[in-house]
Subunit: 206 residues, 2 copies
């Protein structure tokens, strides 16, 4: 018989299953992950040291399947275009796994491949003239906007519904000018991203 050509468990499979599970349930536990993979929890520990490493594998899977923010071409652009491209690729990646957003957003980033991405961002923003104490708040703020926007992208196209025109005339008027499809959320992302970048540029002048 020999060994199976594909090992039953490998780190890539663990990351993919964990991402799927967190996306579906909004949570991740080792027993649930073992069940989803059809193995005993102890088998998981032959491959990973624990929960933190599983979350790293989820991030790796997200980056491998979406290429989010990793391309050298992203960071070779002027800073505003670079942040714009990065934000858009990051948004697609998270919008593909919205249930995993809270977990990924709150687990420390210790992965060298994530550090490499932040290193490029930090170098670009320092070179652009931002102060050392401005760079991380600026990156964090942009990330927070992207995470919230990813949740909005999977929300219903019509989020404010059943509005009474008599009691809410201004709201009704602006809703008449709001698309009732996915472009509601993409418009909001575009408007917010442009506003953030304008505000960041303003910091450089200040």
């Amino acid at each position: 018989m020999g060994r199976p050509r594909t090992p039953l468990l490998d780190r890539r499979r663990i990351g993919a299953a964990a991402l799927r599970l967190a996306d579906e349930n909004g949570a991740l536990t080792i027993p649930a992950l073992a069940r989803a993979l059809g193995v005993a929890p102890s088998a998981l520990y032959h491959h990973v040291s624990g929960r933190d490493e599983i979350i790293s594998l989820m991030r790796e899977e997200l980056v491998l399947t979406t290429g989010a923010g990793q391309g050298a071409h992203v960071w070779s652009q002027p800073w505003e275009q670079a942040l714009d491209s990065w934000a858009r690729s990051y948004l697609s990646a998270f919008a593909a796994h919205p249930g995993a957003v809270p977990l990924l957003a709150t687990a420390p980033l210790a992965e060298p491949f994530m550090h490499a991405m932040y290193e490029r961002a930090a170098e670009l923003l320092l070179t652009a003239g931002f102060a050392e104490d401005q760079v991380m708040p600026l990156i964090n703020a942009l990330e927070n906007f992207i995470l919230g926007s990813a949740l909005d992208l999977v929300a219903p196209p019509v989020m404010v519904s059943a509005v009474a025109r008599e009691t809410a005339p201004h709201l009704s008027a602006v809703l008449d000018h709001t698309p009732a499809d996915r472009s509601r959320a993409t418009n909001a992302f575009d408007v917010g991203l442009r506003a953030l970048l304008t505000g960041f540029r303003d910091l450089l002048r200040g």
Copy 2:
């Protein structure tokens, strides 16, 4: 004996329990909510018509316990201060229940008290000179930033950790200037909020 002074179940109790449950589990099911309240699922249906109404009660509970965005004083200020106050109260409300953020962010807003809040925001922004098709994207973008920031507020103070100075010198330099406590996340919120408002003001001139 007579009737118990406090009814076993009322809408306020249902909303509070649902909010707690969603916050803890990142998810909400009717059976789990009934279990948490110590009643049969059928008893719940004497008070609410279903899941959507439960989510409305969660929003109501959030507003009742935090006052988020409801005060008339918020909306009587000039638009930039009003959005600033609103964003800060909204952030505190969501940061108190981060696990419920994905659920609340993706359930349609059909509640009259939420419509009353959006009506005030829409009136203020239209009066300030924003176009009818700019108002909802702008409000949505701000909300998305707040939702992401609420998740960031409950993330560990040090989010980027174990960075190697040799391979990531720029990242290390900016991390040296990043606080290692809760002010990391509040700084990011302040920087992002200011940038967004600057960008919105720029739209008025455009």
